[in-house]
Amino acid sequence: MIELLNYQFFQNAIIGGILIGIISAWIGLFLVLKKESMIVDGAAHTAFGGLALGLLIGIDPFLTALIVSIISIFLISHMRSKGHAYSDSAIALMLAVGFSIGLAIISVTRGFGVDIFSFLFGSILTISREEIILITLLATSIAAFLSNFHREILAIIFNEDEAKIMGIPVRRISICFNLMIAVAIILSIKMVGTVLVVALMVIPALAALRLKCSFIKTLISSITIAIIGVISGIIISAYYRIATSAMIVLILLLIYMIIVVRKRW
């Protein structure tokens, strides 16, 4: 257990995991409040197509995935803001298209079997020093944005019309926020893979909301829960050789259940 800490890969995983956990829980809380958590699932699966595309044309797959995820998030939120009926079905459709294109590309070109597995299920234990630097940069800029504008974002989520009348630059803030969601999704894919991104972003928020407290306490609880889940998930998975993403999500679910049961009492 202790000797694990001496390994570079393990230190990297813990640092990267905590940073990703913080911002995904933070953004996840806003998305849950906005009742838009399925956007994450849609965009994450669509991004899988982007990952495959990157491998195919030979550039960093996470870059193409980021672009695809940005596009899909803006498409989805455009549809929702225009009040298109069936925007939920549109998310499902986009998810299916992106994901199946990704699978098709990969099956045609075969060859990169290992990568597919890490895209689907995450690869936090193989994170490199350079990636840690990139993750730190992205995570701190997202955190800076969120802490500066969290009241504006809250006001917009609470009632967009009122926020506009209050003179809050709703459009600009929403655009920035959508970009942050896309980046957070890509970072989370790195950690837990496309399939479980939505769980990583949503479960801490759902658990924290169960505590029924003020916003600031809800936010802090949500981030704390995410950090606990990430650290213990990584440790257990490295020790017992269980899939990290599964372990993280299972622990988050366990915390959620403990909170639900305790609140019932």
Binding site: E152, D161, K164, M166, I168, K212, C213, S214
Partner: protein, 253 residues
């Protein structure tokens, strides 16, 4: 007198039906205006249109001399919508955290400071919400929620205050206090107030103008000339409406 709002030939259509037809009126600085009219007459529609929240078919709207589309100083205005209290009960905000949102809209990303929190405490104290300041907003009673929205409007220190039936759930003593505060804001701070109200006695006692909305929009000074306006706005129900406030002996000439 400075013109706060200037509306010309405003026409608004909702669901294919004309709801506001050729509204034409001015609001001057320091006005205290009651907006009255039957249910479905278009009061809420009129407010949302002048705030740019629903589109208009024709006409012009000027705030502080600026066309609506060029108007940017929204921090000068506070608005409480009719269905304000109809929010998600589980939203994780304390009353204090909610009211401080009223301080937004001046400069995006401005840090909330001590002075902002002091304003919040004052407003909560004033609206009798100090004891529930740390409760979650969903736990308040209907009347308390309404007072919370008033508190959020007050911390904006607005030059114009627009309220769409703000007192529906408040108890009698709070209503009285609320109207006192409105008069005080209007007289001492020269805040311009537009308030939708169905309580004609209050409108005729405390306010200086009425705007009657029933598809067409009529404006009158409070007093005898308002009779004609009421007759047009309420049609056949006019006698009942008019008689009611006369009975209370509160008709101000």
């Amino acid at each position: 007198m400075e013109k706060v709002l200037e509306v010309k030939e405003l026409k608004v259509i909702r669901n294919g039906r004309i709801v506001i037809d050729g509204a034409e009126f001015e609001v001057l600085k320091g006005d205290y205006i009651g907006i009255i009219g039957p249910n479905g007459g278009g009061k809420t529609t009129l407010l949302l249109a002048i705030l740019g929240r629903i589109p208009r078919i024709s006409g012009s709207i000027k705030w502080f001399g600026k066309e609506l589309k060029d108007f940017k100083d929204w921090h000068r205005i506070a608005f409480i919508p009719q269905d304000a209290t109809n929010f998600d009960r589980n939203f994780p905000l304390s009353v204090k955290e909610f009211v401080v949102l009223g301080r937004l809209g001046r400069k995006a990303g401005r840090k909330i400071n001590r002075e902002d929190w002091e304003e919040v405490d004052l407003a909560l104290e004033f609206m009798g919400l100090a004891e529930v300041a740390n409760k979650r907003i969903g736990e308040l009673s209907e009347g308390q929620k309404q007072r919370m929205f008033v508190a959020r409007a007050l911390v904006r220190k607005p030059e114009v205050l627009i309220l769409d039936e703000p007192i529906a759930g408040m108890d009698a003593s709070i209503q009285e206090k609320f109207y006192q505060k409105m008069s005080e804001l209007n007289h001492k701070m020269n805040v311009t107030i537009l308030m939708v109200s169905h309580d004609l006695s209050v409108v005729f006692c405390k306010m200086n103008k009425v705007i009657c909305v029933n598809k067409e929009v009529y404006v009158a000074k409070v007093g005898k000339e308002a009779e004609e306006v009421l007759r047009k706005a309420y049609g056949e129900h006019f006698y009942f409406v008019f008689h009611r406030h006369e009975c209370r002996g509160e008709f101000v000439d």
